[in-house]
């Protein structure tokens, strides 16, 4: 129970700091809206074209606005030396990892809560469906897990803003394939059971990456 409370404390601290400045959230919002609008212009997304491209556009937007948020939140952590404070306060590195990943997960969900209705309007497809929500949850969970681990590495490198997407995006290939295919299936009117293979892929990805991240995070944050 102690560990859960510690995780909760880290998440609460991160969210409180973010809701106070809204620095990362506003950047992610504006970026996501920009991406959607530019995709619509560039690919001429109206009617049938919008419906066909919607899954890809949705997940590309999530992936890129996610890297934006991750790199900002870790850079802030480094500027304020927050991570060394965390390392002193919580003895278990897994707790810190879970807290940071959960924080990123929630931030991304807030952005997606706006992105989905906006996409529904701009792309002309109904993205506000319960089954789709599940896919978005699973995809975002895996994204936040891998993203937190890689951001902790990238933030220590020279040119970290460049290194984060270069390191992160290849690792997300299976996740993005699964999420895009599941979304496309659901938008074509399939039921959740009919895209079960993709849901399983997302679940396996999330579990496997969470296990790897929990085992290796200690080596990443050790000073």
């Amino acid at each position: 129970m102690g560990a859960l409370r510690q995780i909760g404390a880290i998440v609460a601290k991160d969210l409180a700091a973010e809701l106070h400045t809204r620095e990362i959230l506003s950047a992610m919002f504006v970026f996501a809206v920009l991406a959607l609008v530019i995709f619509s212009f560039a690919l001429d997304l109206e009617g049938a074209a919008g419906r066909a491209a919607a899954p890809g556009v949705l997940w590309t937007t999530i992936a890129f606005s996610g890297t934006l948020g991750l790199s900002r939140s870790l850079a802030r952590e480094q500027q304020t030396a927050g991570i060394s404070g965390l390392l002193l306060a919580a003895e278990d590195r897994a707790v810190i990892f879970a807290g940071k990943a959960l924080g990123s997960f929630l931030l991304m969900l807030i952005v997606e809560a706006v992105l989905l209705p906006l996409g529904t309007v701009l792309l002309g497809v109904n993205l506000l469906r319960l089954e789709l929500g599940l896919i978005v949850l699973l995809g975002t969970l895996g994204y936040a897990t891998v993203g937190t681990l890689i951001a902790a590495i990238a933030v220590n490198t020279r040119a970290r803003e460049v290194m984060l997407p270069i390191l992160l995006l290849p690792l997300l290939i299976p996740l993005l394939i699964g999420a895009v295919q599941a979304t496309a299936g659901l938008l074509e009117g399939l039921r959740l059971a009919e895209v079960g293979v993709w849901v399983r892929l997302l679940v396996v990805y999330d579990l496997l990456m969470a296990a790897v991240a929990l085992l290796t995070f200690e080596s990443v944050v050790e000073v």
């Binding site: 220590n156 396996v204 290796t216 990443v220």
Partner: protein, 232 residues
């Protein structure tokens, strides 16, 4: 001295097997009935892909051992294997697309085996870039070990994702399947041996380079500590 003999022997042996394999590909292996001459790409292409993947497995394994033991030699192996593997996978991707053009009529197709090579290429280019970012050696070693582990876990996940993706959107990829005759099998096996020997040789040379660099760094550190920098 004994060591050097070993290295020379290894290098000469791998060049020898490589040339033998090359000769077998063009002179011993039969002409394939449906694809014709272009099928001869297959032998080195497959060997390069398999040994490249094996090299990344070595990077993964030595990365795990490094995280447990913190011994520099495992890190050296990890880094050397990734670099050699990247060279092999680069060859695999390029020659795969050279194969795709006459057989499937296009330089690039999201055929699962070709795609997984491209995914591996992206992953390990990122690994090498992470390696070259200036950090203390000990930190970059830990980061690279973690990245090598996560990257290797991504490979099978991507494989299944691409397989299912391609079967859901079926594409007419007729051709590229063939019956293997004994002569073809012999050629493939000798090619595999050639690439294995080449891998071991390159891995060893790359590791020796890293050992020399470590020596130089240690020497320079000692001189700086003693106060005379010399002519470094």
């Amino acid at each position: 001295m004994k060591r050097q003999w070993w290295d020379w022997g290894l290098a000469i042996a791998s060049v020898g097997i490589f040339l033998t394999a090359l000769g077998m590909v063009f002179l011993y292996a039969p002409r394939e009935a449906t694809m014709g001459e272009i099928q001869r790409i297959f032998y080195f292409h497959v060997a390069s892909a398999w040994i490249g993947f094996f090299a990344f497995f070595v990077t993964f394994l030595t990365g795990v051992i490094y995280l447990i033991t913190s011994q520099r030699r495992w890190d050296v192996l990890s880094l050397s294997s990734a670099e050699v593997g990247l060279a092999f996978i680069t060859m695999t991707v390029i020659t795969g697309s050279l194969w795709a053009r006459p057989v499937w009529g296009t330089y690039w197709t999201w055929e699962p085996r070709l795609t997984i090579s491209a995914v591996q290429w992206l992953l390990y280019v990122a690994y090498v870039m992470l390696r070259t970012s200036t950090l203390s050696q000990e930190r970059v070693a830990r980061f690279a070990a973690v990245y090598g582990i996560v990257a290797f876990v991504t490979v099978p996940l991507s494989w299944f994702a691409i397989r299912w993706w391609r079967t859901i959107h079926p594409e007419i990829l007729s051709g590229g399947e063939m019956a293997i005759t004994p002569r073809m099998l012999h050629t493939l096996l000798v090619s595999l041996a050639a690439f294995t020997a080449l891998y071991v040789t390159l891995l060893r040379q790359r590791a020796l380079l890293e050992r020399d660099r470590d020596r130089l760094a240690a020497l320079q550190a000692r001189w700086v500590a003693e106060g005379d920098i010399g002519d470094v």
